[in-house]
Symmetry: D2
Subunit: 347 residues, 4 copies
C-alpha cells in the first residue's frame, strides 16, 4: 500500500469516556465499524477497565482522567458513555476545550444540569453536542418521519407507542422506567411531531408479578404536545419475552406503523413466526452504527447535526414532569426555559 | 319432499321490531342465513317501511304496533332493532309477554332505564334478554378470549384498542362517539377481562379537520378495571380510510393482537397490501350471523346466553361516566348498582 | 311455537352414504350447521356404524343398502361420502332415481368411471351432481377468483401452490399424493384460470426421512394449461408442522397471495407468531359449511351449481396423466373426452 | 487533527474498472460508505466518463487503460465493473499483477472463459478473486443460511424462489433473463444448500404482453442439486409493479421464508400496505455496502473470502445448461470441470 495519505484521509481521533457496556460497544464500533475515525483515548476511573478497553483499539491510550485525555494532541472529539451523573462535568470540560461531543442519553439526569449545558453551549455560540437518541438513526423511524413530513397523510393527531424489555437489571426503579426507557419515546415524539411536549400523565396498572419489588411495571405514559397531539406509551420493562419497540402515527388521513416483527418467517413445531430480539443492541445495532458514523462524518466536515443539547434538556424536563405525574397520579405541565436561538434549526 | 315434519324442525317465529338499516339486515339474516328461525312479524311505526320489510320474508306480517306483534300466535321471540330511545318500552313489553329478546345495542341509552330492565328481568326470575354486542361472536375475539382464559400468558395487564370508522353520518356527536362507538370496547373490556370497569378518563387531541363541526375526533378513552388493568381506546370515527378494529392484550408473560389486516395480499401498481373494509357490516358480517344463530339455537333450547341485561346496564353506566369525563377532562368513577344474583353466571 | 309451516320451510331430506370420518362430519354438519336440511337416512355397509351415525340426527333411519335409502319417501337428495371406489355405483343409482347428489371428491378414482358418470348425467339431460371440491367455497379462494375475474391484474401467467399436511395415515402412496392431495390444486387451477390442464410433469426431490417407506415426499407437480399458464404445486404430506395451503397467482400486472398465516398474533416465550392449523377440517371448516349450505339451497331451488361431474372427470384425467408423469419422470399430455354441452356453463 | 497515522490506518487503494451504473455506484460507495479504502484509479475506455467518475473521489486518477491503472503505485486492489465480455482480460491482468479483485457478476459470460480464470488462479496458488453475488451479504439471506446450517429444521428439500423486476432495459433477451437475473438464484442455491446444481429445466408460460418482442417473460427455471433437492425459480423481469426477491426453503421439519414485504405499514386511501421497492440497488443497498466492506476488510487482512472464481464458473456452467434447456424445452445436465483443491474451503 502507499504510505502517502491526504488530509481527507486523516481519521478523527476520538476519546471515549466511560468503558462500561455502552462505552466498550462504542470503542468496538469506532474501531471496527466506522469510517474516518479511530479511538485514540479511553477514559475510565477504573484503570484496569480503561486498559482493557484500550486494547480493543490499536494505538489507543488509556486514561483515568478525562481532562488529560481531552488535552491530548491526538484527541479531536469526545464520546461520553459514562454514567449519567458524570455527564455534566465531562460535557463542560469538552465545551471548555471546544471539542465536538457525542453524549449518550441522558444528556444529564436532571433538567437543571441539562440547562447549564445548553447555556454553556449557547455562550460558546456554536453547536458542539449531539445527544445519543439513537432512534432518530433507525431506518424505520426515518421512514416514518419522512412519511409524516411529506404531508400526504395530514397532520399527526396521535401516537401509540410500545416499549418493552425482557427484564430489568437489579435496582431498576419507577424513575428509571421514565428516565431510561420512556425517554426514548419522549424524544421520538418531539422529533417526529416537531413540537414540544406540554403535559404528562402516568397511569399505573396493577403490576406484573415479574416486576421487582417496588417497581410498578407496566406503566402507561400519556403526553400532550404544543399543537394538541396526544401520545400514549406503554412501558413494560419486565415483559419476559423480548425487546419490542413499536410506534403508530395516526394522522388526519391515514396511519403508519413501524416496529412490526420482521426477519425470516419460520413454520416449524406446529407454529409460524420467528424470534423476538432479546436486546436493544440487537434491535438498534444498525441505528447505533449510523448514529456514530453520521456524527464522525459531520464532525470531520466541521458541523454538528442530530439531537442537540436542547433536545437533551427538553427530554430531561419532560422526564421530571413525568416523575411528578407518576408520584401524584395527576396531569403535570412541563415548564421549559426559553430556547436559545442557537437551536432554532435543531433537529 | 316429505310433508311430515317433527317438533325439532319447527322454526322459531321471530318478530323484528324496527326496520331501519340494522333491522332490515336482521330480517334478511333470519330469512336467508339462519337455521331454525323464520320472520313471522316486522314492526315499524312507518307502515310502508314495515310492509317493505315484510316482503323480504315469506309469510311475514307487517305491524305498526309492537304489542300487537308480540301477541300474535306465530311470534315466539323478539329481535329489537328500533332506535335506542324506543328500546325500554319494547323490552318491558317483551318481558311482560315472557318472550325471549335479542336487543341491538344499546340496551337503553341511559343507565337508569337499563337498570329498570335489569330489575324487571330479575323479578321475572329468568334471563330473557340478550344484548347485541356482536364482538363476542367474532372469531378473532373468541380466540383472544380463549387465549386469555387458558392462562398461559398470565393475567391481562393492559388492553390497547383501536376503533376507526371511515366517516360519520350527519348529526354524529361527542356523546355518540362514546355511546355508539366506544361502547363496543367497553363491553369487550368487561367480557375479555371478566371485570367491571371502575373509572374513566377521556383525552381529546386537537381534532382532525375531517371531523364535523362540534365533534372532537379522534378521542382517547382510558378505562380502569376492578383488578387494576388499564385500557386505552383510540376512537377515530372520521379516519377517512376505512373501518378498523384492533385489540392487543398485554399480559404478564406475553401479548396477543387481533384485528390485523387480512385477506388476499396484492402486489400491483408499485404497492403491496390490500383493501381496508369500509363498513362494520363487512368486517363483522360473520359475527352478526353467528350472534343471531346462537340466539336462535339457545332460544329453541329454552335458554338464554350471551351478553345479558346486566352487561347492557354496565356498559350504559360506563358510558355515562365517560360522557362526564369527556365534559370535565378529569377522571370519573363508575357507580354500579348491586348485581342481582340472576346474572352471576352471565357472560 | 306455531304448528303451521309452509312449503318453503320444509327441510330437504338428505341421505348420507358412507359414515366414516367425512361422512360423520357431514351428518353433524347437516344436522347442526345447515339451514333447510335434515338427515333422514344414513347408509353404511357396517350396520353398527350406520346406527351410530343415525343417532347424531333426530329422525334419521340407518340403512346398509344405498338403493333402499334412495327409494325412501323422505329422501330428497344424496350426499356421497363413501370410499372412492364405491362412488360410481352410488352415483349411477342416484342418477337413476333422478336425485340431486353432493359427491365427496374424487368423483371416481379413475377417469373412465368418471366419464361414465358424465355420460349418464348428460343422457339425463340436467345437472344433478356436485363434486366436493371445497376450496371453491373458501372465502380467500373466492376473493382470489374475484380479483382474477375482475381483470385489473391482467391475465394469470403462473400459479405457485403449496399443499402441506402434518403427516399421512398408514398406507399412503405416491398415487394418493396426487389423487387425494394434488387433486385439490388441479381443480383449483381449472377453476381459477377457467382453462383445462393440458400437460403434467412431476419432479421428485430426495424424500424427507419422515416419509414412510415407498412414498416420495415432497413432490413438485407442474401443470400446463390450454392458454399457456404454468402452475407449480409443492405437495408435502409429511411436513411435520401442520396443514398449510397457499396459492399465489402471478398476473400480467400484479400478484395475489392467499393462505398466509392468520389469527391472533402472540408474542411470548421469546417468539412472535401463532399456531399452524393441524388439520384440513380446521382450515376449511367454514368452506365445508358453505359448500353443503349452497348445495342445499340450490337443490331446494331446483338447480345444481358448483363443481360438476365434468370437473370431477377432468380432475381424474389430469390425475391419471400425473401418475404416468410420476412414474416416467417425463412430460405427459392430458387427453380429455369431448365435453357435453350440458357443462358449457359449468363452473 | 493529528498528522500521524499508523499502518493499520492506511486505506486500501482501489482501481475501479468500468464506470457505468454499477461502476459509478461502487466509486461512490468506496469513497463515501466504506471504511479503510479509497478510490485511487478509475478506468473507462471513454475518457470523459473516466474523468467524471474520478471527480467523485478525491485524489483519484482517471485511466482509459486497465493495465496502466493496475501498474500504478497507489493501486492495491481492483474492482471490476465493466461489461461482462471485458471481464476475462481484466481478471487475467489482475491475477498477473497478483492483485486482489472484486469482480461484479458474471465472472465471465461463458463457462469456458470462467474456467480459464479458475485455472489461472489455481496456478497462482491462492485465492485472489471474489465474485459480486451480493445476496450472500444480505441480512435476510444470511439469517436463512444460518437457520439452514443450524440443522434444527433438517435437510433442505426444496427452494421456492421469486425474482421480479419492474421492467427490462431495451435489448433484454431470453439469455439475459438467465445470465443476468436467474444467475442470482443459481448462486444462492449453491450457497444455501452447499451443493452443486446437476440439471436444469426451463418452462415457458405464455408471455406477458408487457414483455418486449422476442422475450419470453416470465419463465420458470427448475434446478436439481447433487443431493436431490429441487428448486423452482420464477423469473419475471417485466412484472410492472416493482422489484421483489423472495425465497422459501422447505426442509424436513420446517419451512423458512425471506423477502416478505417490510417497512412502515400505511393505512390510507382505503388500502393497507406499503410501497414495493422499484430497484435492486434499493433492495440490496445494504448488501452491496457490506459486500464491498467485507472485501476491503479481508483484503487488508491479506485474505480472500466470499464467492470465489469457482462459484463464478459453476454459475456460468449452470447458465449455459439453462440456455440449452430454454432452447430445447428439455432437461439438461450440468457438466462441471473438476474443482481445484484451492476451492475446497470456498464459500
Amino acid at each position: 500500500m502507499t504510505q502517502q495519505t491526504r488530509a481527507h484521509d486523516i481519521p478523527l481521533g476520538v476519546a471515549v469516556i466511560g468503558t462500561g457496556r455502552m462505552g466498550a460497544d462504542h470503542v468496538r464500533r469506532l474501531a471496527e465499524a466506522t469510517r474516518g475515525a479511530r479511538v485514540t483515548a479511553v477514559v475510565d476511573v477504573d484503570a484496569g477497565r480503561a486498559r482493557a478497553a484500550a486494547a480493543l483499539a490499536p494505538g489507543c491510550t488509556p486514561y483515568t482522567d478525562a481532562a488529560a485525555a481531552m488535552a491530548a494532541e491526538d484527541v479531536d472529539a469526545v464520546l461520553v458513555a459514562s454514567p449519567g451523573p458524570a455527564h455534566e462535568a465531562a460535557l463542560l470540560q469538552a465545551l471548555a476545550h471546544d471539542l465536538p461531543v457525542l453524549c449518550e442519553k441522558p444528556l444529564t439526569p436532571d433538567a437543571a444540569a441539562a440547562l447549564r449545558i445548553v447555556e454553556a453551549e449557547a455562550r460558546l455560540g456554536r453547536r458542539r453536542v449531539q445527544v445519543g437518541f439513537m432512534r432518530r438513526y433507525d431506518e424505520e423511524y426515518r421512514q416514518l418521519k419522512a412519511l409524516l413530513d411529506a404531508g400526504g397523510l395530514g397532520r399527526p393527531l396521535m401516537l401509540h407507542c410500545v416499549h418493552r424489555n425482557a427484564s430489568t437489571p437489579p435496582g431498576f426503579t419507577d424513575r428509571m422506567l421514565l428516565e431510561d426507557s420512556a425517554v426514548h419515546e419522549i424524544d421520538a415524539t418531539r422529533w417526529l411531531l416537531g413540537q414540544e411536549i406540554t403535559a404528562v400523565r402516568v397511569l399505573r396498572p396493577a403490576p406484573s408479578p415479574a416486576a421487582p419489588e417496588g417497581l410498578g411495571d407496566p406503566q402507561l405514559v400519556l403526553l400532550e404536545t404544543a399543537a394538541g397531539a396526544v401520545v400514549d406509551v406503554e412501558v413494560f420493562v419486565n415483559c419476559g419475552f423480548g425487546y419490542q419497540v413499536r410506534c403508530e402515527a395516526v394522522c388526519e388521513r391515514g396511519s403508519v406503523r413501524i416496529g412490526e416483527e420482521r426477519g425470516p418467517a419460520v413454520a416449524a413445531d406446529g407454529r409460524w413466526g420467528g424470534p423476538v430480539p432479546q436486546d436493544f443492541l440487537t434491535r438498534f445495532r444498525a441505528a447505533y452504527d449510523r448514529e456514530v458514523q453520521e456524527w464522525v462524518d459531520a464532525t470531520r466536515r466541521g458541523t454538528c447535526t442530530g439531537p442537540s443539547s436542547w433536545d437533551g434538556y427538553a427530554a430531561a424536563a419532560v422526564c421530571e414532569a413525568a416523575v411528578r405525574a407518576q408520584e401524584t397520579g395527576g396531569r403535570v405541565e412541563v415548564a421549559l426555559a426559553e430556547r436559545p436561538a442557537l437551536y432554532d434549526e435543531a433537529g
